[in-house]
Amino acid sequence: MSAGQHDESSNSILKIALNLAMACFVSGLIIAGVHFVTADAAAQKAEELKMDSMKALVQDVEKFEPVEGKEDWYKAVKDGKTIAYIVPSSSKGFEGHMQLLVAVTSDGTVLNYDIISHKETPGLGDKANEEPFKSQIIGKKADGLEVVKDPSDKEHVQAMTGATISSRAATTAVAKAVEEVVHFTGGK
């Protein structure tokens, strides 16, 4: 492409730049507009989701209040009393971080938990968020939260077949949360 051939179209660098800028202007206008409309809805939806997931962990609760001094901690309040703490926790799983939301009573009993994100093997490690594994953990205290591979041992948590690492990861994360809550409340 020789320079002379395109003189009439490339006579001004600025003109080309303005062409693109114009497009960006229009685009910015549209995006800004849409954002303006959806921003509030998005924030609201996000909040709703969070509440929903917490409600799933603690039944019959009145409201959730943020815990002062602890980021992302919530306490579930019923009849003016704190019945549980909802604590984020994480641990290393089979193939990356496993993130959990754990509901713990103030005396350090596991009420429920939910794995929010994980990279475990589908059909194997991800069963840590399902029964029957889940019910093994619920109701246990710190001393019971240890994975064993002995079917006769009912005190501790039985590893899922073929997914010992994932079992251990989930259990460890829950134990971590319990420990933190106990530390925070003093075990009462």
Binding site: S9, S10, K15, I16, A17, N19, L20, A23, C24, V26, S27, I30, I31, V34, H35, T38, A39, A41, A42, K45, A46, L49, P122, G123, L124
Partner: protein, 202 residues
């Protein structure tokens, strides 16, 4: 009318973006482990490609050839961002499920290719039909892949159990390896069908 129909229909099978043109393969694998996400992605792309085709065919005459590519990209990116914002606001779970792939719609080759091949040379109506056809072809392909993977890989359809309880789903289908192999055979199958059709035509 007939012409418009042929423009529309070619995207569904004969020039199916995934099975025949083999463009935009990333989402065809990444988000097709369930029907719901496949459908959402399919519809999003359908929307983006149609909207983009329309907008490009409108502005095509005002664009300096030197910055044609960036302008097209801006156009696509705008539409994608809008879809992102809307999904985020009203369907946050789907938004989360699609993850990074939603943003990556921007760089799907099929969208830019249609803009360059078709929209930049045709009028609004024709471009609209083309976008609709291509988008529909894409969406259908996505749902087919998603359907097979979900039904046989998890025994559900749209999250509902449809296989007998004794069905022991092979998980490979919802894993990358299975997705690759499945699509490989689907491409082969569509090739046979397309060849049959073309033979019948000839």
């Amino acid at each position: 009318m007939r012409e418009l129909w042929s423009i529309f229909s070619k995207g569904i099978l004969l020039e199916n973006p995934i099975f025949v043109l083999a463009l935009s393969l990333c989402p065809a694998l990444a988000v097709t482990s369930s029907v719901m996400t496949s459908l959402t992605m399919g519809l999003t792309v359908l929307f983006v490609i149609t909207a983009n085709n329309v907008s490009i065919s409108i502005v095509k005459n005002f664009v300096n050839p030197k910055v044609r590519l960036p302008v097209y990209i801006v156009s696509i990116a705008t539409i994608v961002t809008v879809s992102q914002l809307v999904l985020q606001a009203y369907f946050p779970l789907l938004y989360k499920a699609l993850g990074i792939y939603l943003a990556l719609v921007v760089v799907f080759a099929i969208i830019l290719a249609r803009a360059e091949v078709f929209a930049s040379k045709n009028n609004v109506v024709r471009s609209f039909c083309d976008g609709l056809g291509m988008g529909a072809g894409f969406a259908i392909a996505m749902v087919i892949i998603g359907g097979i993977r979900e039904i046989f890989g998890s025994g559900t359809f749209l999250g509902i159990n449809i296989m007998p309880a004794s069905y022991d789903a092979p998980l490979i289908l919802i894993l990358p390896a299975g997705a690759f192999i499945l699509i490989g055979y689907l491409i082969g199958g569509v090739k046979i069908i397309v060849q049959r059709i073309e033979k019948a035509k000839a």
